[in-house]
């Protein structure tokens, strides 16, 4: 309340009387001062002395009433006892609501003033209520926007994409400058920063501690928390303080009883977030938590299935002298489940080989398990020496007995003798194999295709075809993921494959890459893609293909083999030394990195070309950087002694590729 009286004693006295009301009291000794005060703040009531030098009480009241802002503030005039009726009337005209006569009785004054103080508060309350209604409407609108956080489309996003979407949308909802999400690691349950929005420097994997620091404490709350002002005590992650975050809104992500993590929003200004925002955030966090949980469990299962499936694919393709093999496998991209495609290559007796491609109907763990059973069953029948058709028939019987009508798969098997080129092909409902001649002419092998496995019950015979694979030609087996595109017929896809195979590069790996690039490219497929290529090559003297145990004893063996090859070619002593060194160092490296369960062998391929020798040493690990000062010497030496060195990291291991130019020497030794 505002007290206006030129008599300071009087002001003091009134102040004492009104003090028990507990309101803030401001004093002014003149009308002008009162007006100045009124410019700055609002008052519940003004006590105004009528008789003042300068601007009188009436004049002051007049001014107060003429101002929009202060018009509704009640004015109580203070006057001496010589007021008469007319004077009182004039007072009301001037905007007074009441009079207090001097000398005043404290009780009377107090009760009159308190009436207006209460009125003021009620008005304020009603204003707030009106504001609340408007805000409630805004909230409804916002809740609808909140729905967007958990709408159906988001349910199919992979986790990282989902987090990015969530953060962007949440930040927009609350007009925040930055947002972020910490997720509790599934193994250690420590909260780890997984994604941010609006932060320049993102340190993925930054770890918070549950219960420590602001975000750590929010993790243990049950609702959203607002931090109005970020100060030292907030113990924020340094990247947040560096980004200039001054206020925070954070909510725990909880599903059932599990705490998944924390979702937070940051603003550059203080007190950006209100308690209504906090309520909204709690709601939003609930939805976000469900979506994240969903995406995470899909992710988990997907990884599991992919692991299972990959473990059933052959680790290495056999390296035979007269046969070259290459394979590509790409699990389906967009769908959360992995399909049941596989390929296999099995060495048979007397240098023959069987190659397989298959596709189990269905997805996920079930399909992968069936795939494993079929693969193992087929291997057993083929290794026993059965022809392709017989093996297929037996496999079908096996499958039917295990799964009855509940399983279906397409499959193609080819057994091949690389020395003669005779092959035997059996196809159970699978796409035709493609035969590419040495000159590039490609045609699909048309023949009697049997029923898919698991369909139509156990059969007595399965059709098989005998064919010849000429020297230099390539047989391609593949699954429908390679050739099926939404909107195109399968014939279009097959034709595209045929074209890509005939136009592709001459080396086998290059051909596979070319085919994948042409048919799949960057578009995520809805299905797995598997491609297996087998090429029959003439026996060459200028070639070594060795698979050796990963032990130091293999190093001299590798060296002797390479030396023999080079001596045959008539290479000079220095060239021989260089290659001896290269293969020994590379082999030693492969052996020293044999840690894993599949690392018990490594492979050496050496081929004499017109211009020099191409040497490849492949291990099934990843090329680890040389440790310690001594280790790097090997690579340095290799580089000094040969012309080209390259480390090629592949899916199944690392190859050190070396090339050294050779003068065409005088071949010695056995006749060509």
């Amino acid at each position: 309340m505002l007290l206006v009286d030129d008599d300071e004693d009087s002001l003091f006295a009134i102040e004492q009387v009104l003090a028990p009301l507990g309101q803030r009291i401001v004093k002014a000794v003149s009308g002008e001062e009162a007006l100045r005060r009124l410019l700055k703040e609002e008052f519940a009531v003004i006590l105004l002395d009528v008789r003042m030098p300068g601007m009188s009480g009436f004049e002051t009241a007049h001014y107060i009433n003429s101002r929009e802002r202060t018009r509704s503030t009640p004015i109580i005039f203070l006057t001496g006892q010589d007021a008469d009726t007319e004077f009182v009337f004039r007072g009301y005209q001037a905007g007074a609501v009441d009079y207090v006569l001097k000398p005043f009785e404290p009780e009377v004054m107090r009760s009159k003033v308190s009436v207006f103080v209460n009125l003021h508060h009620e008005r304020q309350l009603r204003i707030r209520e009106a504001g609340a209604r408007a805000r409630a409407e805004a909230v409804t609108a916002t809740v609808r926007k909140l729905q967007s956080l958990s709408d159906a489309a988001l349910a199919h996003l992979q986790l990282d994409e989902l987090l990015a979407q969530l953060l962007a949308r949440t930040a927009a909802l609350f007009d925040a400058d930055t947002a972020g999400v910490l997720l509790c690691d599934q193994d250690t349950s420590r909260p780890v920063l997984r994604a941010t929005y609006g932060l320049e420097r993102f340190e993925p994997g930054a770890v918070a501690r549950a219960g420590e620091g602001f975000l750590g404490r929010v993790l243990e709350c049950s609702e959203a928390v607002v931090l109005d002002e970020v100060d030292e005590g907030a113990a924020l992650h340094p990247s947040l303080t560096a980004a200039g975050v001054r206020s925070l809104l954070a909510a725990p992500l909880i599903v059932a009883d599990r705490r998944l993590g924390v979702l937070y929003l940051g603003a550059a200004e203080r007190q950006h977030f209100s308690s209504a925002d906090a309520t909204l955030m709690s709601l939003g966090a609930e939805r976000a938590a469900i979506a994240i949980d969903h995406a995470r469990s899909y992710e988990h299962e997907r990884q599991l299935v992919e692991l299972l499936q990959r473990s059933l694919l052959p680790e290495h393709l056999p390296a035979l002298d007269q046969l070259e093999l290459a394979a590509r496998y790409e699990p389906s991209g967009a769908a959360p489940m992995v399909g049941g495609d596989w390929y296999d290559a099995i060495e048979l007796e007397q240098g023959s080989i069987a190659v397989v491609i298959g596709d189990v109907v269905g997805h996920g763990v079930r399909a992968a398990t069936v795939m494993g059973e079929l693969r193992n069953g087929l291997r057993a029948y083929l290794v026993e020496g059965h022809r392709a058709g017989t093996a297929m028939m037996r496999l079908n019987q096996l499958a039917c007995s295990m799964h009855g009508e509940r399983m279906a798969a397409t499959l193609a098997v080819v057994t091949l003798d690389p020395s003669t080129g005779t092959a035997c092909l059996a196809n159970a409902g699978h796409l035709p194999a493609l035969l590419v001649a040495a000159d590039g002419a490609a045609r699909f092998i048309e023949h009697d295709v049997g029923m898919p496995l698991g369909v139509g019950g156990a059969t007595r015979e399965h059709p098989e075809l005998e064919l010849k694979v000429p020297l230099g030609s390539t047989l391609l087996l593949f699954t429908d993921g390679l050739v099926e595109r939404r909107g195109d017929s399968i014939d279009d896809g097959l034709e595209r494959l045929r074209h890509a195979a005939s136009e592709g590069p001459s080396d086998l790996e290059g051909l596979c890459s070319h085919i994948l690039a042409e048919l799949v490219g960057d578009a995520p497929t809805g299905d797995d893609v598997a491609l297996l290529a087998i090429r029959r090559r003439p026996p060459t003297q200028g070639r070594i293909a060795l698979r050796l145990p990963a032990e130091v004893g293999s190093v001299p063996a590798a060296r002797h083999a390479v030396t023999a090859l080079l001596k045959q070619h008539g290479a000079d002593e220095d060239a021989i030394f260089a290659l001896k060194l290269a293969v020994s160092e590379a082999a030693a490296n492969a052996i020293e990195h044999a840690y894993g369960p599949g690392d018990h062998e490594f492979e050496i391929l050496a081929e004499l070309r017109d211009d020099g020798i191409d040497l490849r040493v492949t291990d099934s690990g990843s090329w680890r950087e040389p440790r310690g000062r001594g280790r790097g010497r090997g690579l340095v030496l290799i580089e000094e002694f040969v012309d080209e060195v390259e480390v090629v990291r592949g899916d199944r291991g690392t190859t050190l590729r070396i090339f050294k130019r050779l003068d065409s020497g005088q071949p010695t030794g056995t006749g060509s």
């Binding site: 004893g553 293999s554 001299p556 052996i591 001594g630």
Partner: protein
């Protein structure tokens, strides 16, 4: 009178009957009591499969000598495994105040490996024989002592 002992170094780690069993290298250990220098001559190939045996043979020598001469003139092949051993030997010996001297053939691939890996300098003075090397060692140690 010089003592001699000769040991074959087969490939370590090879399983019985595998190609690695063939003798890869033969080392000859000589001790010149007058010169008090040990000479180890290696004939053949040293790689990761037999370098450990070479190391064991050398370290088994009594270490009262002034130094060690490693004669690689008849060594057909060495690679980073041998170099690693050479660095180790040089360190060990120098800690005991002993000298390591390596003998190689001019223009050989073995010399090339020694130089490329920094073990020997290109312009370094090279003794021409085991006697030369022994004399070099004595000279070097006397020089050190005189300082």
């Amino acid at each position: 009178m010089a003592e001699r002992a000769s040991t074959p170094l087969t490939a370590g780690g090879a399983s019985a009957g595998s190609p690695g069993d063939a003798e890869l290298a033969r080392i000859t250990l000589e001790c010149d009591p007058e010169a008090d220098v040990r000479v180890v001559a290696v004939e053949g190939e040293i790689d990761i499969s037999n370098v450990v045996r070479l190391r064991d043979a050398i370290l088994a020598l009594p270490n009262a000598a002034l130094g060690l001469v490693l004669d690689l003139q008849a060594t057909a092949y060495i690679d980073s495994s041998a170099i690693r051993l050479l660095y180790e030997l040089r360190d060990r010996l120098s800690r005991r105040g002993q000298v390591l001297c390596v003998l190689d053939r001019e223009g050989s691939n073995v010399r090339r490996v020694l130089e490329l890996t920094g073990f020997c300098g290109r312009d370094e003075e090279r003794p021409g024989s085991a006697q030369d090397a022994a004399a070099t060692i004595r000279r070097r140690l006397r020089h050190d002592v005189e300082l």
